[in-house]
């Protein structure tokens, strides 16, 4: 006769899980008590949202010339900033790699890269708009800085992961520093560099439609002013143009990725 043993539940909730839930609820209660997020405001908003969606459609493409010229400007900003940012990142990334450079060089360069990364592109855009005035130039400088922050960091990490045997082999032939880099380092990391660069071009394309909100050129400025003038059908047209731009960019970058595989 088999007796049924009343075993303990093998999946008990642990003490730390309980504390996690408790902490979550305490935080939510605290956050909602300090913020003015009310239910009636939310319901009011849903009402307003229905009306907004009514006014968003159909999209209004009558000002397509403005739209097209802004779109081209966004594209120009993204291309110039990507090329400039990636070229600068090549050198900055190499200088930040701890296995290629002494600490005297790599530490300050790493701090510089971290500085480029800390601030959101929009904040950098604000500073550059003050420095060089409204327009595409501020956008280009902003996205260049943002590209350095991202790509140079990844370049440096990629270079730090290389196999040093090949570098030593090239060095043993009596090659100079530049030849060592060109024939010992670059071939090992080239395909990853291409990957990072394509990713950054894609992300610059997205960001170039946004920096305009603070006056740094491109589609963002027109979008922001259309919002402020309650010109909602034009907003939809701009948003559709942005989504189309991003989709085309993604298709192109997939193509390039396949070529370089």
């Amino acid at each position: 006769m088999a007796t049924i043993v009343d075993r303990q539940n093998p999946f008990k909730t642990s003490l730390s899980t309980k504390f996690l839930w408790l902490g979550l609820f305490v935080y939510l209660a605290y956050a909602f008590s300090t913020l003015d997020i009310g239910w009636e405001r939310f319901m009011l908003g849903l009402d307003q949202g229905g009306r907004l969606i009514d006014r968003l459609f159909p999209p209004n493409f009558t000002r397509w010339e403005l739209l097209l010229s802004d779109l081209i400007e966004s594209l120009q900003i993204a291309i110039i900033a990507s090329v400039a940012g990636i070229l600068i990142s090549l050198f900055v990334g190499l200088m930040a790699a701890r296995n290629m450079m002494p600490n005297v060089i790599s530490i300050p360069v790493r701090v510089f890269i971290a500085l480029c990364r800390t601030f959101h592109p929009v904040i950098i855009a604000i500073l550059f708009v003050k420095a060089v005035g409204f327009g595409a130039l501020a956008g280009i400088l902003t996205l260049t800085v943002a590209s350095i922050g991202f790509v140079a960091k990844l370049f440096a990490e990629a270079i730090e992961e290389i196999s040093f045997k090949q570098v030593e082999a090239i060095r043993a032939t009596g090659a100079g520093f530049i030849s060592t880099i060109l024939f010992g380092v670059i071939p090992q990391v080239f395909s990853r560099f291409i990957g990072f660069s394509i990713y950054q071009l894609d992300s610059n394309l997205r960001n170039s439609t946004m920096v305009g909100i603070v006056g740094a050129g491109g589609l963002g400025g027109t979008l922001f002013s259309a919002f402020q003038r309650f010109d909602y059908d034009f907003v939809t047209a701009i948003l559709l143009a942005i989504i189309a731009l991003i989709l085309v960019g993604e298709a192109l970058s997939n193509l390039v990725r396949r070529i370089f595989q």
Partner: protein, 276 residues
């Protein structure tokens, strides 16, 4: 046929083709890409509207800006900046939590080892891609138009932007789950919910917390600028200070953001070390 192949004479080394890593087609495709990049770069450079005088003037203007920023307006911190910064942190945290609620069903629907129907997978994928391709500032503009300026618009903007990111990464983590334990739990006759909780979740848990922390870190940075379009937080203070040309206050706000972002990054790194 085999004998034929064996009998063909070995070609002499001078005639044998030079070894090349890539075929002619591959190489020409690559050179085409290089050419297009260079051409589009110079075409953009020639047509973009840049006023060179402004660029020459830039160092002077930047120096002027930093001179006006110094000394920083430390007195503004306790009165306005501290509260706004807390709001920003709340926006980031609440937005991340809300995005989890929205992302979970989409991630489950998107993982093709949980829901077998490719139709459902595609629907989930569409929502995830749509969420990711609209920038958080644009989401914020939309929600400010709907709910009015304030924290609520910021929370929703952060949440909807994060859904795509969290959902995509979490569904990838779910797809990498070892199916053996899933089958074992299924074999006991467990319901769908039990399989999810006892088979999928324990394996995807580390990835889940790592994604959560990663996105929270990004959201803190992003929510700092949402205020520029009126979605609450420190960005509102920054925008007001800039419109009034209060550069010392701007400097104080930027320093606060800088310190908070570094602090958050430190916390995230520490927590992740404990979790791994």
């Amino acid at each position: 046929m085999k004998a034929d192949a064996l009998m063909t004479p070995v070609s002499n080394p001078a005639e044998s083709p030079k070894w090349q890593r890539f075929t002619l087609g591959q190489r020409s495709a690559r050179y085409m890409v290089y050419l297009i990049i260079v051409m589009s770069f110079f075409a953009s450079l020639r047509t973009v509207e840049i006023i060179p005088e402004f660029l020459l003037d830039a160092p002077e203007q930047l120096a002027d800006m930093f001179r006006r920023m110094w000394p920083m307006d430390f007195a503004a911190y306790p009165t306005t900046i501290h509260g706004a910064m807390l709001d920003t942190l709340h926006i980031a945290t609440l937005g991340t939590l809300l995005s989890l609620i929205l992302a979970m069903p989409l991630a489950l629907m998107n993982a093709n080892n949980i829901v077998k129907s490719s139709w459902v997978n595609w629907i989930a994928k569409f929502f995830l891609v749509a969420s990711r391709s609209v920038n958080s500032l644009i989401w914020a503009l939309l929600f400010v138009a709907i709910f009015g300026p304030g924290v609520l618009a910021g929370v929703l903007a952060v949440a909807l932007r994060s859904v795509g990111f969290v959902g995509k990464l979490f569904s990838e983590a779910l797809e990498e789950v070892n199916m053996g334990s899933v089958e074992a739990i299924r074999a006991t006759g467990a319901s769908f919910a039990s399989v999810l909780i006892k088979a999928y979740w324990p394996q995807a848990k580390p990835a889940f917390f790592s994604i959560l922390l990663f996105r929270w870190d990004i959201n803190v940075r992003e929510s700092a600028v949402l205020g520029l379009v009126g979605a609450g937080g420190i960005g509102v203070v920054l925008n007001d200070a800039m419109n009034l040309f209060q550069w010392p206050k701007v400097a104080m706000v930027l320093t606060t953001i800088f310190v908070v972002v570094l602090l958050i990054e430190f916390i995230v790194v520490q927590v992740r070390k404990r979790l791994m």
